[in-house]
Every structure is written in structure tokens, then in C-alpha cells.
Amino acid sequence: MEPKTSAAVCGMGHSMKRKEDPRFIRGQGRYVDDIKLPGMVHLDIVRSPYAHARITAIRTERALAIPGVLAVITGETLKGFNLHWMPTLMSDTQMVLPVEKVMYQAQEVAAVIATDRYIAADGVDAVEVDYEPLPVVVDPRKALEPGAPVLRTDKPGKADNHIWHWEAGDRQATDQAFAAADVVVKQDMYIPRIHVASIETCGCVADFDRVNGKLTVYMTTQAPHAIRTVFALVAGHVGLSEEKIRIVSPDLGGGFGGKVPVYPGYVIAVAASVVLGKPVKWVEDRMENLQADSFARDYHMTAELAAKRDGTMTALRIKTLADHGYTDAAANPSKFPAGLFSICTGSYDLQHAFTEMDAAYTNKPPGGVAYRCSFRVTEAVHAIERVTDVLALELGMDPAELRFKNFIPPEKFPYKSALGWEYDSGNYPAALQKAMDKIGYAELRREQAEKRQRGELMGIGICSFTEIVGAGPSKDFDILGIKMFDSAEIRIHPTGKAIARFGTKSQGQGHETTYAQIVAEELGIPAEHVQVEEGDTDTAPYGLGTYASRSTPTAGAAGAMAARKIRAKAKKIAAHLLEVSEEDLEWEVGKFFVKGAPQKSKTIQEIAFAAYTNHPPGMEAGLEAVDYYDPPNLTFPFGSYICVVDIDRGTGEVKIRRFLAVDDCGNIINPMIVDGQIHGGLSMGLAPALFEEISYDDNGNISGGSFMDYLVPTAMETPSWETDKTVTPSPHHPLGAKGVGESATVGAPPAIVNAVVDALSHLGVRHIDIPMTPEKVWNILREKGVAE
């Protein structure tokens, strides 16, 4: 799409250089740990070495004797304020600090506040805790067996470790379709625990002003407004009132879902600041971050696909066991305990589908955050894209051909899926065809056949995913009752420059740039003169924050709608200035002109000046608008990815030779930023596919708890990503845009697994669980007798 605006205005479609970058390339960003307030003290946390244990004593005397240690806070301290437990977003409960027992290794046990971060760490070492170990449950299947130790003894009457059962679809009709199918395939798959590992860890500076009763919290949060309301609701009984709470989310060093939850550390820091009357800084270290912050995934899935002999898919059935750790602290919209897993019918025209899920408590940290995806979409896409390839193998059909045969045809959009979603727009065959043409699919297949003759292991994997992002329409989507709209407030200054504030919060996505471009597109004010602000609840309009690729679908739309409200008022002012009626005016970028007399016009800058100096009688002065945008539907970005791998028979190492991503996120605001988002998403798809996993031994000891063994890919392991696009606008978004930040994280893992399985399929391999480490792959090669 050609940009409608000039390079000087820099509206949609321009690869504008980012407005954020001048500060970041100079080291002048302002992240939480950069904030230093007068009198500020430091908090550090004592953590449990046990995964499940009763606390019999906490002795703080030695810690308190250290010069510079100001206080030690325990669960008993917080119990005095009834703040030792807090609610989770999924209406479960989570300990802030324990008074009775710990439920996972690295759980917070006590907090030390000291004048300096080194002394606080000394204090942590000096706190003595006596534990009485209890039986540990790490496997969710064992957790649900009769006779398993019941973990949540705090819940009266709770007699097992089952959290909830959820299902979607028509079980009976799906069972009938399976019974009538020519072919049925079934595949177990496990998507292990992983961690977002944003390069900045989590932390806060809590600053309670005793004189004014105002609490300011500088905090690594993706959703500052929601956090403010949660704080007001949870701590209202100790006198925190919402108008006296200010949450500031400064520059964030990545988020990816890990900065959505309220972690105990934040709450303890707030309590400490209130108690001490000093600003308290808490910044976790990397090991705390990996070991205690919210995890992602941990789904044990069994996917079944039914089809006719010719490859027409007829029904899908998926049964999942979700490991939630000791509490359900997933970050989902409240009515969706399994997130948006019901997108699992994917890109295919499936008439019948049924999916059910059970969730279990185990002795692991809580979580269930997204890891750069929209509420469990990654798990759903993994299931459908993997089982599709299993079906292709069963039928002896090329996986591309099987996909073309089953794609929802472009003419069927908007498309109602078997599990109830209305897909807004899509052209799946076009994206896959483009990917195949660009990568030279037929030639790659020929090469693979030749190599196979020579015993070389080469594989080609396809993933044609559909995402569901931009939560969401208020009829279904809320968090603790707060509807998932988002907001924009735009003010035009007398000289025609603008400030625009939003309810979302960038963590690297470049909102200061893309939102400015949206305002530029709608009003013709150069993007460089649109100042974008987010993250301060005292100034920004209320919004639900940034996660699940919702910023452009919700707040971006609100920006366009607010700009259009401004344009409507600007038209009245222009009519007044030009002494014509509104009906006689037409808009082109940046000005209104009189129909048939284009020389008679008023620019937006002239109109803005008049709004303060010469506004029409009876009209309010000023030029500003607010919009709270309630999206009519979600957006459904999609794409087709092709991955080519070579496998080393000596080491089992998977080498990604090429990876091409063809994405469709509707109309694009900033092509440079979209490409960057896809590169990053691909890398966060690569990571769990080949490297990352957090696992536990039978005693609940974590492995993968530091960067020593939690393998975030470096530039050496990461291939040189290739990208391309198709453009199928969203019919309901005011700009025709869809979310994009997470598509690639969702689409990449199945493409990589499908490529590796494809390389080994002639040996009888149908599936490999991620991460496909060299050891795992080499063991398969050895078992099949082809390891060198």
C-alpha cells in the first residue's frame, strides 16, 4: 500500500525512524533501576530452598544486627495488615509472604530492607529459616491421581489438586465425525515451561509520601492502570485509595507477558515503603526472575484429527492437562481460564471440533503468562500445525497440499469457526503460495530427495497459522470485571502540534513512533510533532495495557477515532473561517478545502490556532478528544512460514539453513517496525523450539534457573530471518490493521518441529517434543540406527 501522506507528515506506511531511539542509543533511557530517589532504601528477598515445606521458625535477629539493615518483613508482619495473601487475576489466591508453608523452590519467604543493595543481600544471608520438608508434587498427572498429597491445604474443603475443567465445542458431533472418519491420527505433545526472560528483570521503586498519603510506584508493568485499580482493591482496607495511587511504568526493557502479573516483590516493597515512610527499591536478579516469576506454557496435549481418505479434515479433538504451579495466576481475560486456546482449529475449514482442558496444582511457581502470545494461542497453534503434519504423513500427502486442501477459502470470510470465533479476514492460500514460490519449495523437495539418497538429513517444515489478537470486545473480555477497551487522548496545541496519551504501554514495540504516525495519518500533523506518552496513570487515560498484540487493535484504533473526533470539530472551525457550510468542505491530508475551489482551504495548523484564538461563537475553545475504543471483534493475523533444516548425524544438532516468514497483519503502520517485530518474534519462537526449557527434578529443584542453563539464543544460533508479506486488511479496525508483535512467536515453533520431523520422517519419526536439543535428536538418530 502506498502511503497517503508525504514523508514530511509520515503517516501510515512510512518506515519512520523511531522517536524512542535518540535516548536509547545514548544510554539515556529511564528504566526502573535507573530511578534514584532521595532517602531511597533497598529491598532484597529471602527465598525457599524447598519446593514444599512447612516453615517452623524465621529468626531475624542476626540480620537486624547488621549495620544498615532497617527491617525484616515476614508473612507474620503482613498478616497484621491482612496482606499476606493476594488475589490472582484468575480469582485464585497467591501468597505475598508465607506464614505456614512454602509451595515452590525460590518462593519469597521474607524481605530485608537496608540502606544499600549489598547490605540488603547480607541481611538475606543472615535470616535463618527452619523448614520441615513436605512431599513434593511436580508432575500434574500425578497431582491428579487419587491419594496425591493435597497442596492447597489453605483452601477449606479442598480435597484434591484439580483447579478447573474447561471445554469448548460440540463433543457429541465431534465424536460422531471421528467415528465416521476414514483416517484418524492422534499425537501426544508436551510444551514445556519456558520463561520470557526479558533482558530487564522485574522491579519497582515504591514511594509512599506520608504527608500527602500518596503512593507512587515506578514499576516494570505492562498494564499500569489495571495495577492501580488492583492495588486500590487489594489494599483499600489499609487506607490506599485510588486517587492517591500513581503507577508509573517508565521505559521497559522488554515485557513479553512477564510484566503483566503482580509479583509479591512489588507488594512487599509497597508495604515496606508505607511502614518505613521511605522510597523502597526492589529489583530482582536474573535467577530470581527465572525461578520465581510467572512461567509460560506447560501444557500436556493430545491432539486428534479426523479426515477423509482424500485429505479433507473433518474433525479435531484436543485434550489438555495444564500445569499451573501452586496457584492459578495465569494472565488471561477473566472468562477465559484456558485463554484463547479455542483458536485451535487454526487456518482450516473444520466442521467439528471439541477441546477440553483440566488444570492442576503442583509445587512449581505460578504463572501461565503468554511468552509473547495472545493467551495460549501458541499452544493451540502448535497442536493443530503439528497434528496436521502427522496427518500428512499418515496419508502420504505433501504437507503443503494438505494445507491447501483444507484452508478456509478466502471467499468464506468473515468465517465462523467450529469453536465460535468469527475470523475477520484472511487469504491463507495466497500467503502459503507466496512463501513456497519465494523459497523455491519444489526445488527444495528435489534437493531433499537427492540428499536422502545419500543419507543426509534435510527437512522442510511448514506452518500456516492463524492468530487471534486484540482483546477485546467488552461483551466477552474483561479483567476482574474491567472491560478490555483501550484509550487515547489527543490534544492539539495552538501552533498545530499535538500530545497524544494512550492507555497501553510500550516495552520496545515503538508506540511513540507508530501512534504518532496514526495521528499524522488522520490529521496531517507531522508525526515528528506528535508527542506520545504512556505509562503514567496520573496523566494517561485509563486502559488495560499492552500484551496479547492488543495495542494497535485497541489503543491504535482509539487514536484514530479520537483524531477523527478532532477532525469533526476542525471541520466546524474551518467552515467558520472560510465562511461556508460544513457540507461544502472536503478533507485531504492536513487541510479542509472548499469543494470546487481547492485554493480556498484551511490547514489543520490554521484551524488549531483558530481553536484557541478565533473559535466560532457558541463553540467551546480548544481542540482535543478522548476515545475509549471497544473493538467490535478481535483481529486475526495469519501467515505461512517455511523452515529448512539440516541435521548433523554426528551431534544431533539442528541447523536452520533458511527460514522464511510471510506474514499478514492487515494494513501496516510502520513497515520497518513490523519487520523488526517479526524478527524478534521468530527468535522467541526459535528459542523454545530448540533451546529453552525450565524443568524440575522429583524434589522440585529447578533446572534452567540461570542463564547458565536457560539457553536464550545468541546471534550465533539465530538464523538470518527472511520476511515477506501479504496484506489483507481487517474489515472492522478503523485503519484496517491487525496486531503483529506475536505472530512469529506463535508460528515459528511448529515450522521448526515440522522441518525436523520431516528430515527424519523416512525413519518412522512422527513427532518430537520441544526443545529439540542435540541430545534429544541424537538419541533419536541412535535409536533409528543413523547416528554417526
Binding site: E20, R26, G27, G254, H679, G681, T718, S720
Partner: protein, 165 residues
Amino acid sequence: MAHHDITVKVQGVEHQAKVESRLLLVHFLRETLSLTGTHIGCDTTHCGACTVLLDGQPVKSCTVLAVQADGREVMTVEGLEKGGQLDPIQEGFRQEHGLQCGFCTPGMLMTSYALLQRDADPGEGAIRQAISGNLCRCTGYVNIVKSVQHAAAAMRSTPNPQTPQ
């Protein structure tokens, strides 16, 4: 805890301080000197967010003690811009969208700057090798490689007296 008097030159300016033996260089820079451009992303020398130059060599300042920098020269991200003029590596990252959240960026810039001091025309492999001690979660590295190449090209076309050609 023993204390030591140290003198460290940072961006060419001498700083004297009394520091604890255990004080890390990264905390000396961030907290004693308020140079917060150098970030902390891990504590185990893996992520490279804290990379600075010590006597011209990139080091991870989370595993260097402040006392080890005594009598030596440190350069941080704040020292790249000279006389209001961005260093070509900074300009490269901006032009090629080599950063997103900005948190790994200072370390990436310092590592890349050091690479370009010793190699005026690094290929993709050499760049990837050089930055393999710096983790980035946002960019997928593709545009970081381009950023470094952009800077290298700019430096070759406008010889800078500080850069050996």
C-alpha cells in the same frame, strides 16, 4: 569490609572514590557515578547488557570489581557521542532499527564499537561472533548485524582519526 581508594578514568575524566572491595564495576558506574546507561541483565556474565570498555577491551562490568578498574580507563555508552556528534555505531543502530526496548543496546553498542576498532569491514559471521556474548530478546539480531555493517560503511567512507583504517 575493607575499603580502597581508587582512581578510574571514565570517558577520559578522572574519578576518585573510596569503594568496598566487593563493589562491582557496574554498580560503581551506575550508582557512584550515576552513569545509568550501562544496564544489568543478569549476574553471571551471560547477557552482556553491562558491557563497557576497559582499556579499550569490552568487558562485562557485572563481573569486574571496581577495584580492578583502579588506574585504568573505562568507556561507557555515554562516552560514544563526542562534541554533540553521534558515533557511527549509534547512527547505525538508529538507521537500521537495531534496537527495540533499548535495554541490551548500550552493551551491544560497546561490543560493536570495539569490533569496529579492530575490523573496519566485518562480515556477518564476524559480527555475529563478536556480539555472541550479548543477548537481545527483541530484535532477532538481523538488524543489529545490519546496524554494525551500516556503521562500518559510514566509517570507511569518512575516515575518523580515532579509527585505524
